[in-house]
Structures are given as structure tokens and as C-alpha cells.
């Protein structure tokens, strides 16, 4: 019970902090002070208090987009274990639901973008679906590798199974898997080198351009949902990358939260030392991620 409570508090409250840490890291690399760590929370509270402008050409889909996306992401949040704990909801095969809850969210984001009829948003939608259909196989290869290692298709036992002995036995495979998963994490969350979350240049955007017409609380939902998605995929990554468990629940929660912050710093570093890829190079990198995770599967199946 207390674990479920911790799970809910972390998953609801912590995601925007990751964005704050990424922003601070990037600012440090650029020689600036940067916005406060809590800036994303201020932004969200500001957006929630704002009014909304809705284009006359849109239908209910435009308003449903952010809501469905956020709801799907929140549901997915119940399926991922945070650290070596049990997730609130867990059943055999939930990893497939987890993957397709994100797909559902993406479907509604793109449909809402197409609903505006803007040429920019259509372009963004086309890019998003093209790239995500390349990122999806990589995620599945990673999950299948874990299934093969743990013998289950449920996220909680599967991820809790990855402990130090497993790393010793299948280290090479897990390293490949993590590398592929990190690429998917960056791509799915529109980070550099795939997309630049800070740019104002609508012609170069992938995800941001699809939400240009949303404002106020709708936009707040989108931003919060994006932070949550980063948090969940990050949790998946951290669960595999940090195979330690002390046995003391509180120490483990602290270890998990700390690992997430370290991951945010790592993302910030990658964003600072790399430029964005040319858009036509993005599929190549995603295919590379797919190959990495495919080989990790080959290594455990052989």
C-alpha cells in the first residue's frame, strides 16, 4: 500500500523536475545561469490559469487530443515499476498494453494536429508517425529480450528480474539493449539529436509543430503528458541500468529518484554536445537502434 502511494506521488509530481534538470544542465554547458529547476512547474501552473483560443475549423477531436493523450500516458504510468518495486497494475502481457498506450496517445495527437488543417501541423504529423514506426520495433525488441531473460510478459516481474547476477550473465546483451533504448528514449521524447524542444522554427519541428494551435490548459496537458512520457521511458531505462536493490524500500525509492535525476543530467549533456541531425538522417539512427536491440535479442536467444 505504501509502495503504491509512493509510486503515485513520484509519477505525478516528479516528471516536470526532469525537464528542469535537463534545462539547467544545458544552461551550464552554454555558460548561462538558466531557468530555475522548478520552472516547468511554474509554466504548467501559468498555462492552467490561461484562457484558450480554438480555431473555428477544428472539431471535437482537437480538444479530445490532449485529454486522451494525457489519460493514456497516465494509465501507462500505472504499469511501469519505479525501481525495484511492484507497479500498481500488473498482469501477464501488460508490456504490450504499455507500448500501445503510447501509440494511442500519439494517434490522438496526430489526429488533433491534422484536424487543424494547417500545413505545418500536417507536416509534423507525417514526420511523427514515420519516425515512431521506426522507433516501435526497437522498443519491442528490447521488451522481447527482457521477456526472454525473465520468462514473463509483465513489466513488473520482468524489470525486477534484472539484478546484478543477470547483468553478469547477459551483460553484453543488456548493454546493447540499453543503447538502443536510450536512442528510443531521446527520439520518443523529441530531444536532440532528433528534435529540438526549444526551437521556434516551425519548419524543423517534429513534435512541437503538432501542438502549435493548442493553448492554455490544453497545452498544459500536452506539456505535462510529454514530461510524464519522458519519466516513464526513463524509468524503464533506469530499471535496467541500475540493477541494485538494498531491500530497504525507502533506500530503494531514494536510489530510484536519484538515478532519474542522473539520467536527466545525461540527457542534458547529450543535448549540449550534439547538434540536431538532419531530418533525413533520423530514420538511419532509429534503424541503428533497432539493430542494436535486435542483436541483444540474438545474444540471449542463441
Amino acid at each position: 500500500m505504501i509502495d503504491t502511494l509512493f509510486h503515485m506521488v513520484l509519477v505525478l509530481a516528479m516528471p516536470p523536475l526532469l525537464l528542469g534538470v535537463i534545462g539547467k544542465t544545458k544552461a551550464a554547458f552554454a555558460g548561462r545561469v538558466g531557468a530555475p529547476f522548478l520552472q516547468p512547474y511554474y509554466d504548467l501552473s501559468r498555462l492552467m490559469r490561461k484562457g484558450v483560443v480554438i480555431s473555428d475549423t477544428t472539431t471535437w477531436i482537437f480538444k479530445a487530443g490532449p485529454a486522451v493523450t494525457l489519460a493514456a500516458t497516465l494509465f501507462a504510468a500505472l504499469l511501469v515499476p519505479l525501481g525495484k518495486h511492484a507497479a500498481p497494475v500488473s498482469f501477464e502481457g501488460d508490456m504490450i498494453l504499455f507500448a500501445y498506450l503510447f501509440a494511442l496517445g500519439r494517434f490522438f495527437t496526430t489526429v488533433a494536429a491534422l484536424d487543424t488543417g494547417s500545413s505545418f501541423e500536417g507536416m509534423g504529423a507525417a514526420r511523427e508517425v514515420t519516425f515512431s514506426c521506426l522507433a516501435e520495433p526497437a522498443l519491442f525488441f528490447a521488451l522481447i529480450t527482457l521477456t526472454r531473460l525473465s520468462g514473463t510478459m509483465s513489466l513488473t516481474p520482468m524489470l525486477n528480474h534484472v539484478t546484478s547476477p543477470v547483468w553478469v550473465a547477459a551483460g553484453a546483451s543488456l548493454i546493447l539493449l540499453l543503447a538502443g533504448l536510450f536512442v528510443v528514449l531521446l527520439a520518443e521524447n523529441c530531444r536532440i539529436p532528433f528534435d529540438d524542444p526549444n526551437t521556434h522554427l516551425e519548419l524543423t519541428m517534429i513534435h512541437e509543430v503538432m501542438v502549435l494551435d493548442h493553448s492554455g490548459p490544453y497545452f498544459g496537458c500536452i506539456l505535462y503528458g510529454a514530461a510524464l512520457k519522458l519519466y516513464l521511458l526513463g524509468a524503464l531505462f533506469v530499471n535496467i541500468a541500475v540493477p541494485f536493490a538494498s531491500g530497504n524500500a525507502f533506500v530503494d525509492w531514494a536510489l530510484f529518484a536519484l538515478s532519474m535525476l542522473v539520467l536527466a543530467v545525461a540527457i542534458g549533456v547529450v543535448e549540449s554536445v550534439m547538434a540536431r541531425l538532419r531530418l533525413i538522417r533520423v530514420p538511419q539512427l532509429l534503424v541503428a537502434a533497432m539493430i542494436l536491440t535486435a542483436f541483444s535479442l540474438v545474444l540471449v536467444v542463441r
Binding site: A30, S119, N198, T204, A275
Partner: protein
């Protein structure tokens, strides 16, 4: 040498009677043979006369620092278009067509340039009222999977207004058409009459980031018309200010290019260092953009020993900082991978379109007014011309960096050996019935000012050609066959002026 041209030098004035006036046919023949012989069009414009429009063409020949002038009178409402043989004329012809209602026969693309009201019209031809800016017949590509993307005139960033129309096939751009004119202020009309303090202010505001460039060109025109000699010290200070302007803008551009590819360290550092260079301009004259420094006859602010030493120290610091910031770019493979091969303008296209400035040099064209038609301090100090091959965003970035290095060196050298003496010589009455022309290599490229005076020594026609006027077509070419997502990066690598074009 081509016959039929009046030869002159940069920064000089000629009597209007001496300018050869050809028949339309001879004019066209001379123009085409001059271009074949390696001449280049610097400016081509019309001026209203009693019952005709006289077209003046100014050509440049690199190796002899020669400028050639010729003219023809158009009495009918049409004139043959030479665009097919001389593509670099296409925008000039459109401009004349718009300003005087002359139709250029055979011009493939006779569309408005700035949607301005006509300067004059021929007798028996009623002037046409201009359309609202941006309302024109855009080129369209038809097909099932072809889509059109319209960007602007209101943009997401704080930049000037301009409309861009892309014809895309998926992510690939088949054609980009640029429609400007939103910033048209009629500067050329405003400065007619007797030049004064207000004229200088207008000139400095033609393109705010090229204040020194346009200010110097205007000052050279007035000096040529009244025969004033600029003191040596003033020439040196003008040179320093012009190079500081180049430094500030090039540094800002390198930062903006880095920002566009999402490479933050260089973007942030260059943004700040640009401010340092602007502050050095402020040390010279109290304005970060150099307003009020250049005046006909010299400069308005002296540089003493103490200020020169202080500036040298600051240049030294800035050199170290900008080198560090820019070297991060060259050392990042992901940045290089992003810049190389993006937005290529081939040398042939650059030559045909008549590109100028860093954009032309990046495509391998070796042209620079500071060397080809030296003026002021550049008559005595040579600056090496930096070129690159490739014509891509990388080449335009590299040329900017190489020019930064040379400009830093130039400024240090000039500050160390500033001549003494006065800084301004008194201006006299402007000569009557004369044409003066001045070319200045601003940071963006060649700034051309031409003035025609009437019988009482007043400006009857003043023609400004900003480098952006030559280069916008280069940007459109760079995108052809490229990716639409590369547009912002290509745009930054050209960094053209909207108001300098719109006038």
C-alpha cells in the same frame, strides 16, 4: 575592353552628359557582350525624364577596378528583357517594371518586387495602383502528392516580415518563392532634394545592421559630388567601424547558425560576444550600431590614443573568446555533419544570379569590393579575400569565420597606426548635373549607392542596391531540391535583410 561604356572608378562622379546614351538595341548588345566579357551588373535602374524613362546600367570589371556606365532612353511602354541571356538582371528588370510601368518583353517572371507605387509613368500610360503586399501570382506545382507550405509574413521569431511559399513533394522542396515588400518605406523617394542631416539618418536606417555600410556609401556619394577630400584619420576610423560592424554581425550569425542546429554552447557565447563588438562601436560614437559616426566629409567622433589602446585590449580579449566559441563548432562532428552539403548553391548558379558578399565567396566566387574597387582606407591596406568551395551552409559559415579573423587583424593594425590630423573636412555645394556612384563592401556584401543631381545640385534620383537585393534569389536556389526542414538553417546562413531589400 568593351566599347560603349563610360569608365569610372568607385567613389567618383561624372557629368551626366558624358554618359553614353545608346539606342535600345545597342544598349542590349553592349550589355550582353560586356557580361560575356566578364563584367558584372552592379546596378540597373531607371530615372524619369520629361517624356521618357532613362535606364542606367552600371557594370563592374574586377581586374582593373573599372566601373562602366551606359544608358538608354525608353519612350514606349515596353523594352526587351535580357533575363534569358543575363539572369542576374531578373530582379532589376522587375524593379524597373514596377517603378515605371515598363513591360519587359520576354521576362519569364514579371511580378511585383515590393508592391510600391510607381515612381513615374510614361506619358499616355496611366500609372497602376500597386496590389497589397503579398498578393501575387505564385508559381505552383500541380500533382497529387505535391503540397504547398506558406510561411510568414508573421514569423515565430522576432524577425522582419517576409512571405515564403514552398512547393513541396513530401519533405523535398521543389521550388521556393520569396515575396517581400512589407517593409517598404520609400527611402529612395524620401532622400530626394537637397541632402542634409535627415538624409544621413534615412541612409543609416536603410538596413539597421549595415548602418556604417550604407552611411559610408552615402558619404562617398556626397563627397564625390562636392569634391571633398576625406582626412586620412577619418578614413581609418571608417574602416575600423566597418570592420567592427562585420565582426558583430558575423559573430552573431555564427551563433545563430549554431542555435539553429541546436548546438547551444556556441550559440550562447557568440550571442554575448556579438554584444561586445557592438559595445566597441558604442565606444567609438556612443551608438552600438554606429549611428551618427560617419558623416559626409569624414567622421563625427575622434579616436584618441587612450581610446585606441582600450579598444586594442578589448579586441584582444574578444579574439580569444570568439576563437574558443567557434572552435567548438569545428570540433563537433554532429555540427559539421549537419552543415556540410546543406543548401548548396553551385558556383555557376552564384555567377548567373550575381550573388555578392560572403554568400558569393562561399560558392567560390572571388569578389570583394574592398579589393576589386578599393575605397577609403582599403586603398592603402589590403585585406585578403577569403573564399570557400562547396557553396553549402558549411562554406558560408567558414567564410564568415575567416573574415572575422582578418577583420580582427585589420582593426588591431589600424588602431596601432592611427594617423593624426583632422577628422572631417567641410562639405561644399553638390555638383550640378552629375552622377556619383559609391560601392562599399558591407558585412553582407556589396552596398551600391548612385545619385543623379539636377541643374541646381539637388538629388533628382537616388538608387540604393543592398546586397540582399542580389542574394535573395540565392537563398531560393539553395533550397531547390533540398529539405524543407533545412530552410531555417539556410536562411540563417545567408542572413539577408528584408528592409534593405524593401527600401
Amino acid at each position: 575592353m568593351t566599347p560603349g561604356l563610360l569608365f569610372t572608378q568607385n567613389g567618383s562622379a561624372v557629368s551626366r552628359e558624358e554618359i553614353p546614351e545608346h539606342s535600345g538595341e545597342r544598349f542590349c548588345e553592349t550589355l550582353i557582350s560586356a557580361i560575356d566579357g566578364g563584367w558584372r551588373v552592379v546596378s540597373y535602374f531607371g530615372a524619369a525624364e520629361a517624356d521618357a524613362v532613362r535606364l542606367y546600367c552600371i557594370l563592374s570589371f574586377k581586374t582593373h577596378a573599372a566601373l562602366g556606365i551606359m544608358s538608354t532612353a525608353v519612350t514606349g511602354n515596353s523594352f526587351p528583357s535580357l533575363v534569358e541571356a543575363v539572369p542576374q538582371l531578373h530582379l532589376f528588370e522587375r524593379e524597373i517594371a514596377e517603378q515605371f510601368g515598363i513591360s519587359f518583353e520576354g521576362h519569364p517572371w514579371l511580378k511585383p518586387v515590393r508592391f510600391e507605387t510607381q515612381l513615374a509613368s510614361l506619358p499616355a500610360v496611366p500609372p497602376k495602383a500597386p496590389e497589397k503586399a503579398g498578393i501575387m501570382d505564385f508559381y505552383r506545382v500541380a500533382g497529387d502528392e505535391v503540397h504547398e507550405v506558406a510561411v510568414g509574413p508573421v514569423h515565430a521569431g522576432i524577425i522582419e516580415p517576409g512571405h515564403f511559399r514552398f512547393q513541396c513533394f513530401g519533405e523535398e522542396v521543389m521550388h521556393l518563392e520569396i515575396s517581400l515588400g512589407y517593409q517598404h518605406r520609400a527611402v529612395e523617394r524620401m532622400v530626394l532634394g537637397r541632402p542634409g542631416l535627415r538624409t544621413l539618418k534615412c541612409m543609416e536606417a536603410v538596413a539597421g545592421d549595415t548602418t556604417i555600410g550604407h552611411g559610408t556609401a552615402y558619404a562617398m556619394v556626397v563627397e564625390a559630388l562636392c569634391g571633398a577630400r576625406v582626412p586620412a584619420k577619418a578614413e581609418a576610423i571608417r574602416g575600423i567601424a566597418l570592420e567592427l560592424e562585420r565582426l558583430a554581425n558575423h559573430t552573431g550569425d555564427l551563433g545563430a547558425i549554431a542555435g539553429d542546429v541546436g548546438y547551444l554552447p556556441t550559440a550562447s557565447f557568440c550571442g554575448r560576444i556579438r554584444g561586445d563588438f557592438l559595445n566597441m562601436s558604442a565606444e567609438l560614437c556612443g551608438s552600438r550600431f554606429g549611428r551618427g559616426l560617419v558623416t559626409p566629409g569624414g567622421v563625427q567622433f575622434d579616436v584618441g590614443r587612450e581610446l585606441a589602446d582600450k579598444l586594442r585590449k578589448r579586441i584582444d580579449v574578444a579574439r580569444r573568446e570568439v576563437t574558443n566559441a567557434v572552435e567548438l563548432l569545428w570540433d563537433s562532428p554532429s555540427v559539421m555533419g549537419r552543415l556540410e552539403g546543406t543548401g548548396v548553391v553551385s558556383e555557376k548558379d552564384a555567377l548567373d544570379l550575381g550573388l555578392v558578399g560572403p554568400a558569393a565567396r562561399a560558392s567560390g566566387l572571388n569578389r570583394d569590393i574592398r579589393r576589386d574597387h578599393p575605397f577609403g582606407i582599403y586603398n592603402v591596406t589590403q585585406l585578403p579575400v577569403e573564399t570557400a568551395k562547396g557553396g553549402d551552409v558549411y562554406a558560408r559559415t567558414l567564410v564568415r569565420w575567416l573574415e572575422i579573423e582578418k577583420s580582427l587583424h585589420f582593426i588591431e593594425e589600424q588602431l596601432a597606426q592611427l594617423p593624426g590630423g583632422s577628422i572631417v573636412s567641410p562639405a561644399a555645394q553638390l555638383g550640378e548635373n552629375r552622377m556619383a556612384l559609391a560601392l562599399v563592401e558591407g558585412w553582407r556584401g556589396e552596398v551600391c549607392h548612385v545619385a543623379l543631381t539636377d541643374g541646381s545640385g539637388q538629388f533628382q534620383r537616388y538608387k540604393i542596391t543592398d546586397p540582399s537585393f542580389h542574394n535573395w534569389s540565392g537563398l531560393a536556389m539553395a533550397l531547390r531540391g533540398g529539405q524543407i526542414s533545412d530552410f531555417p538553417l539556410c536562411n540563417k546562413s545567408f542572413n539577408l535583410s528584408y528592409c534593405g531589400f524593401d527600401l
